[in-house]
């Protein structure tokens, strides 16, 4: 039963990144709490819905748009990006080439989608498959912080869809930035003044959410 003064938000979130980095797995884990190593390659766009009880007064409904990894070449991303409020850009920590593609995805996103206040949509970077132990890129956390700053990400997380690491946390981080940018449409909140919002014992490494 809904309370009388409950507010409801509906946000469209994009999940993008090169093929095979685990976008579908992350969404299935987040929405259905399960994992399979054999999801079929996404064709076009897959759609999922997640409902969050954000706080006592707020329900957040997330429309998750899982966009096929090959789409960047297909020129159809513009249609899928329309009216999105935030994005996850995913790469696979075991394959450096997928990290190199991150900036291309970010450019593609920012060139095709701008918030009504003229700013780029908040984007969180996900370093997926962190359970694989081949963390070629993650050995230097400071570099990642720098990378996010330079490329306009509001934060980054090491995630694992398989082991369920940091996916809820990453989502909360993104939603928080969306809510913040909504409530103050002229001046979006800078990453550095976001307070930590963490109560998980799992490994957390989001530059934006951790800084004081």
């Amino acid at each position: 039963m809904q309370k009388h003064n409950q507010k409801e938000h509906l946000y469209k979130l994009l999940v993008i990144g090169d093929l095979g980095v685990g976008k579908t797995s992350i969404i299935k884990r987040y929405v259905h709490q399960n994992f399979s190593p054999h999801y079929r390659a996404t064709i076009g766009v897959d759609f999922a819905l997640k409902v969050l009880n954000w706080d006592a007064e707020t329900v957040v409904r997330l429309q998750l748009w899982d966009i096929a990894g090959q789409e960047r070449f297909g020129n159809m991303t513009r249609v899928y990006y329309r009216e999105a409020m935030g994005a996850f850009i995913v790469f696979d920590v075991t394959r450096p080439a997928t990290f190199e593609a991150v900036t291309k995805w970010k450019e593609d996103l920012d060139s095709k989608l701008i918030l009504p206040n003229g700013k780029p949509v908040p984007a969180v970077l996900l370093a997926n498959k962190c359970d694989q132990g081949i963390d070629v890129l993650m050995n230097n956390g400071i570099k990642m912080d720098q990378f996010c700053k330079e490329n306009g990400f509001v934060g980054w997380f090491e995630t694992s869809a398989k082991e369920n690491i940091n996916i809820n946390e990453a989502s909360r981080c993104l939603v928080k930035h969306i809510i913040a940018s909504e409530s103050d449409p002229i001046q979006s909140v800078e990453p550095d003044i976001i307070k930590p919002h963490l109560n998980s014992s799992k490994i957390v490494s989001c530059s934006a959410c951790f800084k004081s």
Binding site: L19, A41, I43, N75
Partner: protein
């Protein structure tokens, strides 16, 4: 061959399907005397391509293509087939050679699915089992596997020749077909069309995959195989007639669609249509309806327009 087309339209018996498909696709000549020599020549030709190109898969210019194929193959269905290393090897070769030989499109996700029906049908020529799914492919003699591989390659090539613009840059064929589907449905069933429109469901959001994978993701493999009996008998089956099948397929769910009252539920339904238990009968009904639509709406495209 025309006789064969007529007979095949309503489904081919499993026993003769391998040879019927090879004939219908144009891979095998209708003339019986020339069949063996053609097969031999084509199989030799394919393996000459393999010899010539396959080593280049790790070259700078081709490694992206190979890597994409390599990532996608373990993500196909049916599960039991794709988990066999022998099968993976064969699929990788077929897809890589095709991509290299067709640089205008190269490898596009979804093409990998299109090998499966040919491979499964051709393998059924050699095995007794009712279900291919429990079959250990590596138990077949090497020579038999090579023949299946070459035949699958050529039949898939023939199919793709007819729908090439589905897979060239920006996939114009698919964009066009999705638009045509929308236009067609608006004439066939205005109520469903309006309902989707009202809830801001775009055809591209669900029908892109229908075109890109020829409905293979929407129905079980056995149904795809039955569907392809007809597609190969029908002129422009995989391109033009497919459009009418898609329209019939969408309207088939009109009751469920009209019951869903919001964007989320509609899209989730349309992307996960409940066809798990579908069999030949369902496909036959679908095809009959598609045929009726083609008759009523293609041959007189403006007849029903207001």
């Amino acid at each position: 061959i025309d006789e064969l087309r007529k007979l095949s339209w309503s489904g081919i018996p499993k026993r003769v399907r391998p040879v019927a498909w090879k004939l219908l696709s144009g891979y095998l000549p209708a003339n019986v005397d020339r069949r063996d020599s053609t097969l031999q020549r084509k199989r030799k030709e394919y393996f000459a391509f393999v010899e010539q190109y396959y080593d280049s898969r790790n070259d700078e210019s081709h490694q992206d293509t190979y890597r994409q194929i390599h990532i996608d193959i373990p993500r196909m269905s049916p599960e039991v087939l794709r988990l066999q290393p022998k099968v993976t090897e064969i699929f990788e070769r077929i897809l890589f050679i095709w991509a290299i030989r067709h640089p205008a499109s190269g490898y596009v996700q979804g093409i990998n699915d299109l090998v499966t029906p040919f491979f499964v049908v051709f393998i059924c020529e050699y095995i007794e089992e009712e279900e291919v799914e429990n079959f250990d492919v590596s138990s077949l003699p090497e020579e038999v596997l090579q023949n299946i591989e070459a035949d699958s390659y050529w039949c898939m090539s023939k199919l793709l020749d007819g729908i090439q613009d589905n897979y060239t840059f920006a996939q114009p064929g698919i964009q066009k077909k999705v638009k045509m589907l929308e236009e067609l449905v608006s004439r066939i069933d205005e109520q469903v069309h309006r309902h989707l429109d009202q809830h801001e469901v775009k055809y591209l959001q669900f029908a892109f995959r229908w075109m890109n994978n020829l409905l293979m993701r929407e129905v079980p493999l056995r149904c795809t195989i039955r569907l392809w009996d007809t597609y190969q008998s029908e002129p422009e089956g995989f391109s033009h007639f497919h459009l009418y099948v898609c329209a019939a397929f969408l309207v088939r769910w009109r009751k469920e669609i009209l019951e869903e009252k919001d964007f989320q539920e509609l899209l989730i339904f349309l992307q996960n249509l409940p066809t798990v238990h579908w069999g030949n009968e369902d496909i036959s009904v679908l095809l009959a309806e598609a045929y009726r639509l083609k008759f009523a709406f293609a041959d007189a495209p403006n007849h029903y327009k207001k």
